[in-house]
């Protein structure tokens, strides 16, 4: 009897945890998109007001920005500093394609970042500002969509996890 009870508790905990974990991905995407906006904004200030070289601007921003932007910018900045022939758009594309999924960014989010990276490295001061503004706007829109999706799915997944595991307990008890 106590063993059965223990099993039921374990099923309940693991089922609920699965629900919570799946829900957490939606929340992480929202958080990542928000932090990316802040980071692009900080980078824009470095470019617009200090006219810092891109590699240094990326590293400076990386030191202040949280995950994922901090890590992505850090990698890009380091790669640019290491070899002069590296072009930002190529470096950034490689990093996004390798890393973005691990921050729960969808293909649509990645497209925004890739397009931003394609345009950023080769522009004038005024154009850089516009490129950053557009990226921030698109990230805001993506965040709004991610938030609404998260609001719908987070509760659903959490409840589903608890309820499905409860159903299993009832069925097998």
């Amino acid at each position: 009897m106590p063993l059965k009870l223990l099993g039921a508790v374990l099923v309940l905990i693991s089922g609920s945890a699965t629900g919570w974990l799946l829900a957490a991905k939606y929340q992480a995407r929202v958080r990542s998109l928000r932090r990316l906006q802040t980071a692009v904004n900080m980078l824009d200030s470095e470019i617009r007001y200090s006219q810092t070289l891109l590699s240094r601007a990326l590293l400076k921003t990386a030191a202040k920005a949280g995950k994922p932007a901090g890590e992505l910018f850090q990698k890009a900045g380091k790669k640019l500093e290491e070899k002069r022939e590296r072009i930002f758009s190529q470096v950034w594309t490689g990093i996004i394609e390798d890393q973005a999924a691990s921050y729960h960014l969808t293909r649509e989010d990645q497209e925004i970042l890739l397009e931003w990276g394609q345009q950023l490295g080769g522009t004038s001061l005024a154009d850089s500002g516009k490129v950053n503004d557009i990226a921030i706007k698109r990230l805001q829109e993506a965040e709004a969509r991610a938030r609404s999706e998260s609001e719908k799915k987070v509760k659903l997944l959490r409840y589903s996890g608890v309820l499905i595991s409860l159903l299993m307990v009832i069925l097998f008890y």
Binding site: I47, Q51, T52, L53, L54, S55, A57, L80, R84, E85, I87, F88, G121, G122, T123, S124, L125, D127, S128
Partner: protein
């Protein structure tokens, strides 16, 4: 020095230039990239086109085999622009507007393309179709032979000296070494070191990169980088109390005014200007007063006669040859 420039060449071009360089006897002066046209290497002895393998295609008296030449395309030029601007054209926009920027070591990269105008003023250059990497050579000691003629032993001070030469004849190299010499002093010739202020408007003299001078300018030299010459000279005189101020390629009315002010303040001026003789200076409406009022007491004329840096003559304020 040339290795500093090579770092800023796209890999394909760098490899070809490296291989070609071994076969070129004379020193490399320029690497010219033109979109859709053969890459050109300019040396003291002439110019050559090369293949991607670094084979020299054109020599004196031989027709160039341009079909095999290494021809940079738009993509390669765009890559070169991103490399020299370190992926940050926005950070060098002001320099791009003037048509050139400076690499570490004072090497100059010139650009040609479509200028973007705003209210009649050039704001930037886009669609760059030509890039010219001009290699700066630091020749330590090349000014020592001038010392006896540009240093006044009685007054124990240097003469205000204007180095005059056509482009690419070595006037910046000579000025750089004159600055180094004046700043360091010359023990053998019993000349002490002086405080020198340098206005390096194009960052070519000191080759300053990220605040660190790339060229040797002596221990008593203060450098004002990316600063308009006229303003820089006055700023230096006010703030750094130099005994000598130096500037490259003077020419505007403001420069002339600042030089007069400096000389009147008792400061020696070292400067360079494009020209080929006293008459070319007299024909220049802004520079003419400098000659007429004898602001400079020494003129050093350079030419390409026996290679860049050939000293044709050294004259005093009256236009007479200086003999020591």
């Amino acid at each position: 020095m040339i290795n500093q420039v090579k770092q800023y060449l796209p890999v394909v071009i760098r490899r070809a230039v490296q291989k070609a360089e071994e076969k070129i006897e004379s020193k490399l002066l320029e690497i010219r990239l033109r979109c859709g046209r053969p890459l050109e290497l300019v040396t003291y002895s002439g110019s050559s086109f090369i293949t991607a393998e670094g084979e020299i295609l054109e020599c004196a008296g031989r027709a160039p085999d341009l079909e095999r030449a290494l021809v940079p395309d738009r993509e390669l030029l765009e890559k070169a622009v991103l490399m020299v601007t370190e992926n940050s054209p926005y950070a060098v926009q002001d320099k791009l507007r003037k048509g050139f920027l400076t690499l570490p070591g004072g090497h100059r990269v010139g650009f040609c393309g479509r200028t973007v105008l705003e209210e009649g003023t050039i704001t930037t250059i886009k669609d760059i179709g030509g890039i010219n990497y001009r290699i700066t050579r630091e020749i330590i000691g090349c000014a020592v032979k001038l010392l006896a003629k540009v240093y006044n032993r009685e007054q124990k001070k240097y003469h205000s000296t204007l180095v005059v030469s056509p482009p690419m004849a070595g006037k910046t190299t000579l000025l750089r070494d004159l600055i180094r010499l004046a700043s360091s002093g010359c023990k053998e010739k019993n000349v002490r070191g002086y405080k020198v202020g340098v206005v390096d408007e194009r960052a070519e003299i000191a080759g300053v990169y990220r605040g660190q001078p790339g060229n040797e300018l002596g221990p008593r030299t203060d450098v004002m980088v990316d600063c308009p010459k006229a303003e820089g000279m006055i700023m230096l005189i006010r703030s750094m109390s130099p005994e000598i101020v130096a500037a490259d390629e003077i020419g505007s009315r403001e420069d002339v005014r600042a030089i007069k002010k400096a000389v009147n303040s008792g400061v020696t001026v070292f400067a360079t200007v494009h020209g080929s003789g006293i008459e070319t200076l007299l024909a220049h409406p802004d520079l003419c007063p400098l000659v007429e009022r004898k602001v400079f007491s020494r003129y050093v004329f350079l030419s390409h006669q026996e290679g860049a840096g050939t000293i044709e003559s050294i004259k005093n304020a009256g236009g007479e040859e200086v003999i020591t």
